[in-house]
Point group: C2
Chain length 397, copies 2
């Protein structure tokens, strides 16, 4: 009797607070399904595959699995490697060598593309390999799916950060700039609006990569809010873009490089926030201008994930196993919304890897306010259920 | 029959996540005690007193009170005003004019000093005015009390931030710098250690204002951790100090001012974190060096307060009313620990305003590791119960 086939699971790209829920979903479903020799956890994603650094995941007890599921960031380690054809060939060779017949890869659009290439190589070689991609990204920018596991928790984090920061700003008025992750799409920056209760609440201005803004316009917008409310909270995407199409962060870095401060990063840096604060302070002579860059906490903060996001990420992992092992198909796991508001729910469906690979999805026009610096009610209705609910707060004035 | 006397309550200084718990404690206890005409909420602290901007707090329903208690930051508004003798005189005159016989002031050491001066003025004038200060500060630097309301929630926030960030750093290795609030004392920076489970976990280096460090030393420390663990997470106080006694942030600002970048702030800015990251990157040629400044979220993040801190802050508000109205004494509310670990508990006691006013309390030597860049087990045992418990996470490698 031939040895039972093996399976690989790996994690890739910028981690999220629920990427380990998907990992645990895969582990549980493989165990439930049976028929797999060893489930190999690839250490640091595809890098671990080609280096053959694996952790066997078959013997973890239920308590450990639940704690892993609650742990933010990639428990198997992640990688920024973006495999080319030769790299994918190596991945495929390791699968062949180790009798791996199932390959589960949790990641974003680049990971879907890697999965697609490995899948094509297997097909060409006539080697039976089921490849399923499991979506994850706080950026929420994958195509086809209604939303991405990881986004709901990040949205919850930024919404609560801005709820608190807005109260802080109301308590001691001034101008506050908050810089939010999401280089190319405004999904996460848009979520800063979720905690607002009325028109006086911040963020008063929301700058998305999808709506370029000139420095003078931003300063004029802040001035108008200050005149109306005596204070102003700004949520700016790290991907905020000038009308010429260049990212503000890029312009600033170039300036700083000319000043021989070449050590400033585009992410993991407060430079953009400080630049915007300096601009407002300089041009408006505003008192008490502060900037925070919410940073890596948006994707990694422990103990504050969205319960809805956790559950859906677990389900995505389980469904990937279902598609590969029961249905014998390749693809990517996607969500379709079956109801919204109080009746919020999703169902999973399989989509081709090519539908998720490479290209991404911006915030649609219907979610962006006409003034270009706010979100619509439709966006709030879309995003709110994903947060699992926000804390209830109140005001005295 | 003379009209019933009135009472004032106000909030001051940098807000916390539980400062409104103390406010609600005052409101509830005044109502329970009876005998007060109107409880006047001073809008923006002492500024609201002298401008006579008050909100009556007698008619708020229980549901609203609970939501106010859960709301981060000062619901009455805060102030940075530090009253001098003439300002205190004005406060006293408003109390006289409005038949205010009880003055509750929620704040830090400066607020305690204001309370002390107003109290002295009343005594000199032979005017019956009970003044009670209610401690609050994320800095945990007030004298006499075991700990300060507000600290436990901020400690919980930074502990969970570092737990997640350490997993993020393990997932994609590099050097990560996290800058923590607390200009003069290292209490909050020390709390970044609370989520560590073993020696491989970050933060691997903790720099406190109490232990000056030279730039070269910090770089050498990071180098040693990189050689041992292949990655390094640093928690640095915003008050990190050089051996000559000057704050790093101060030195950086001076440099930047010479470069005509005069708009960089000491707080609400990523400048210090970016500077440390640049230093490490430049001197060690380390790849992937990132910095986050945890910023105002440490004191204002919504929905993540410590349950222990919430309860104690509420109690502090109630006890202030007890001291003033039942016991007919002035002072500040303080905590004494009655047990620790599983048997953690506190009791409240009254202390003289002078014991809390002006001077502050650094992290004691017993809480700082001999190497100068870590905390001791005694600190962990001191601070852990205040967080209300941390999430349970697990590792695969």
């Amino acid at each position: 009797m031939a040895a039972e086939p093996n399976a690989i699971v790996g994690q890739s790209g910028g981690p999220t607070c629920v990427i380990n829920q998907s990992l645990v979903g895969v582990i549980e479903a493989v165990r439930d399904m049976g028929g797999v020799g060893t489930l190999l956890g690839a250490v640091h994603g595809v890098r671990g595959v080609i280096d053959e650094k694996f952790i066997p995941l078959d013997s973890l007890d239920g308590g450990t699995l639940e704690r892993i599921a609650e742990t933010p960031s990639a428990a198997l380690g992640s990688t920024r490697d973006k495999p080319d054809a030769a790299y994918c060939e190596k991945i495929f060779r390791v699968c062949e060598k180790r009798n791996v017949r199932y390959f589960f890869y949790i990641g974003g659009n680049d990971s879907a593309d890697t999965a697609r290439i490995v899948n094509d190589l297997a097909k060409k070689a006539g080697y039976e390999l089921r490849v399923v991609h499991i979506p994850k990204t706080i950026d929420n920018d994958l195509r086809t799916t209604d939303h991405c596991p990881g986004y709901g928790s990040a949205a919850r984090f930024v919404a609560c950060a801005l709820m608190g920061d807005d109260r802080d700003n109301a308590s001691i008025p001034g101008v506050k700039i908050d810089v939010i992750m999401g280089r190319h799409a405004g999904w996460l920056t848009a979520a800063t609006a979720l905690g607002r209760q009325d028109e006086a609440d911040g963020p008063h201005l929301i700058y998305l990569p999808e709506r370029p803004v000139a420095e003078d316009q931003l300063v004029a917008d802040v001035d108008a809010v200050l005149k109306k409310h005596g204070r102003c909270v700004v949520a700016a995407s790290e991907g905020i873009t000038a009308p010429d199409g260049q990212a503000w962060a890029q312009k600033i870095t170039e300036t700083q490089e000319r000043d021989a401060h070449g050590n400033i990063q585009l992410s993991g840096s407060g430079a953009l926030g400080d630049y915007i604060a300096g601009l407002v302070k300089g041009k408006l002579k505003a008192k008490r201008v502060r900037a925070d860059t919410l940073g890596y906490m948006q994707r990694s903060f422990a103990g504050f994930a969205s319960a809805v996001d956790q559950k859906e990420a677990r389900l995505a992992g389980r469904m990937a196993v279902q598609y590969a092992m029961a249905d014998d198909v390749d693809g990517s796991v996607a969500f379709e919304r079956t109801g919204n508001g109080d009746k919020y729910g999703i169902r999973c469906f399989r989509t081709d890897l090519a539908n998720v690979a490479r290209e991404t999805k911006d915030l649609p026009d219907a979610f962006i306010a006409a003034n270009g610096h706010d979100v619509t009610k439709a966006f709030i209705e879309y995003a709110m259920p994903l947060t699992g609910g926000l804390p209830k707060i109140a005001k005295l004035f």
